[in-house]
């Protein structure tokens, strides 16, 4: 786990955030991430993020479910133990449709949700650094990673000029680790407090 420093800016409105994100990227600052209390439309485009391929994963899981159900039931009823039930054929395709459908949905839903958790690295017991206590309430927070080349004061001023409400420098572990949110972080004491809690 790398320990890194960030210039963190909070914005009050998504309409100020979007242009600021674009400008930060144009300026060549290393944008670490943006934290918002709800999905801001146009943000992923402004940050240059690709579209997610979660749907494709969902389709593949679904197809897997279809195949599992159809092959499984066919093998059971045709090969493993053919049984005459109410005069129905040993391969009663219409009768297989409901379960095939259900398993398609089940595989697709469960598979995609797990993929979603894996891609986002979220799970009970996972802890990540929270840059601003109100980033899940009403503040839009942008974190810029400090590299050896970064002029911290310049970046701070740049953000303030572009609509930031408050800017500060924080030290934190990057990414995620196992931990509890009830435990304090190592750098909590040296990181400054936000004026809005």
């Amino acid at each position: 786990m790398a320990i890194k420093q960030y210039v963190v800016a909070s914005f009050r409105d998504e309409d100020q955030l979007l242009p600021a994100v674009k400008k930060v990227r144009m300026q060549g600052y290393k944008l670490y991430d943006v934290f918002t209390p709800f999905p801001v439309h146009g943000l992923d485009a402004a940050m240059g993020l690709r579209q997610t391929a979660l749907h494709t994963a969902g389709f593949i899981y679904g197809a897997l479910g279809t195949a599992t159900a159809l092959l499984g039931m066919s093998w059971i009823f045709v090969v493993s133990w053919p049984l005459d039930i109410g005069g129905k054929p040993h391969f009663p395709l219409p009768s297989f449709i409901p379960i095939t459908f259900e398993l398609t949905v089940l595989f697709s839903a469960v598979g995609t949700t797990l993929t979603f958790c894996w891609l986002n690295q979220i799970m009970p017991g996972v802890k990540k650094h929270i840059f601003h206590p109100r980033q899940s309430d009403d503040r839009f927070v942008m974190a810029i990673e400090i590299t050896p080349k970064t002029q911290v004061e310049e970046v701070k001023q740049f953000l303030l000029n572009n609509g930031a409400e408050e800017v500060q420098v924080q030290t934190a572990e990057e990414g995620w680790w196992y931990g509890l949110f009830s435990k304090r972080e190592k750098y909590d004491d040296i990181n400054p407090q936000w004026s809005v809690q």
Partner: protein
């Protein structure tokens, strides 16, 4: 905004050529189709084709009313296309009425066996249905249904045109539309069932299915979505309807996709329960289709009405691609035409039905008529409902969520 629709030459030509083909096919059928099979073919194709196009027009009125009731704005950019389809209800109703009356007056017992005194004398099941299946009630219901649909379509169109002439921001017409929409939806819920029982289900006079009305509705609604897509794309190709963009196309694609699945669900529920119960009186209906002469068309029906739209319209990009949507809409339209074909033909001609020059010709005639009528109706009003309170919502409309 005050865009007027100019009928492109291609529309006019296609319409005229198709109508001519239809008339030729009709005349050729009238004089060329002889013998038992020929006569049955002649009449049953007229019956199911005229009803197919009438049901599509009625579905467009349904869509118009449902969208008005839901206070939707996604369709406003091409609302006039929906209107142009629905105002043709009277024309298709008259055609269907003439065909049905000709069948009754001409004693075409092979279409409606319950009009045949001999069948009534021998078949106790069919004879027991005469309180509902009799010529008098059939005519009365047909007139009420066709008149009701026609009048309400004209009324709603009238309100829509009045709004164009009124001041912007007047909401009276919105509420008026909602009121008449509610009236129509209630009327339609009953009449779609009753009409389908009388006009179509009674062809297989011994057979019955509680799902039948739903089934006819689902098929006609999805055909309508295909037709709207085709019109919207064709008009756009002629350089008009500039407010419509990929966002709106996306919606149409989603509707074709979703309602294909819905139709399949309805189809499956009906077929499956009859298959599972396996009661002769019920399952005989599917016999010519599942095991007999119509097996190919039966399976094709499922493939093109379910598998094709389901697999090909699944992605977002496909729904936003004009070519893909056009092709799928054409396929789906043919598929549901075939579905209507299968509602009538296997009963009338269990072993001899074909899809030949006559079937195609008559259908093209109807298609040509539809193109002509819709173009004419479109050219008679501004291309956008200029004063509609939701027009601006349609302008900023985004098909992706959020």
């Amino acid at each position: 905004m005050e865009e007027r629709f100019v009928i492109p030459r291609r529309f006019r030509n296609t319409s005229l050529i198709f109508i001519s083909i239809g008339v030729l096919a009709f005349l050729a059928g009238l004089f060329g189709l002889h013998g038992d099979v020929g006569v049955k073919r002649f009449w049953s194709v007229l019956v199911f084709d005229s009803l197919f196009f009438l049901y599509i027009s009625a579905a467009s009125l349904f869509l118009y009313c449902a969208a008005s009731l839901a206070q939707a704005s996604w369709h406003i950019a091409y609302k006039r296309v929906i209107e142009a389809i629905m105002v043709n209800i009277p024309v298709f109703a008259i055609i269907a009425f003439i065909v049905l009356m000709a069948v009754l007056i001409g004693h075409k017992y092979f279409i409606y066996p319950w009009t045949d005194p001999q069948v009534l004398a021998h078949d106790t099941i069919v004879a027991g249905k005469t309180p509902f299946l009799n010529v008098k009630l059939f005519v009365i219901f047909t007139v009420i249904i066709m008149l009701g649909w026609s009048l309400l379509s004209l009324k709603l169109r009238q309100i829509s045109l009045q709004e164009d002439r009124a001041e912007r921001g007047v909401r009276r017409f919105l509420w008026k539309t909602i009121f008449f929409s509610a009236v129509f939806i209630a009327f339609y819920a009953v009449t779609i069932s009753v009409s389908s029982w009388h006009w179509l289900m009674s062809i297989a006079a011994r057979w019955y299915s509680t799902m039948y009305g739903w089934y006819v509705f689902a098929g006609s609604f999805i055909s309508l979505m295909a037709i709207i897509s085709l019109f919207v794309i064709a008009i756009k190709n002629s350089g008009q309807l500039s407010l419509v963009n990929k966002e709106h196309l996306h919606d149409l694609g989603k509707f074709i996709f979703a309602f294909s699945i819905f139709w399949t669900y309805i189809w499956f529920a009906q077929y499956f329960l009859l298959w599972y119960g396996n009661i002769p009186l019920e399952s005989q209906y599917f016999r010519p289709q599942l095991w007999g002469h119509y097996r190919f068309w039966f399976l094709l029906d499922l493939v093109i009405n379910f598998a094709v739209p389901f697999l090909l319209l699944m992605t977002r990009d496909a729904k936003r691609n004009y070519t893909t949507v056009t092709i799928i809409a054409l396929i789906v339209f043919f598929g549901h035409w075939l579905d209507f074909y299968l509602m009538v033909m296997p009963t009338v001609l269990p072993t001899q039905g074909v899809v030949g020059w006559y079937e195609i010709g008559i259908t093209l005639g109807f298609v040509g008529l539809m193109i002509g009528l819709v173009s004419r109706a479109l050219s008679r009003a501004p291309l956008y409902p200029v004063n509609h309170p939701y027009l601006k919502e349609a302008i900023i409309h985004k098909s992706d969520w959020g």
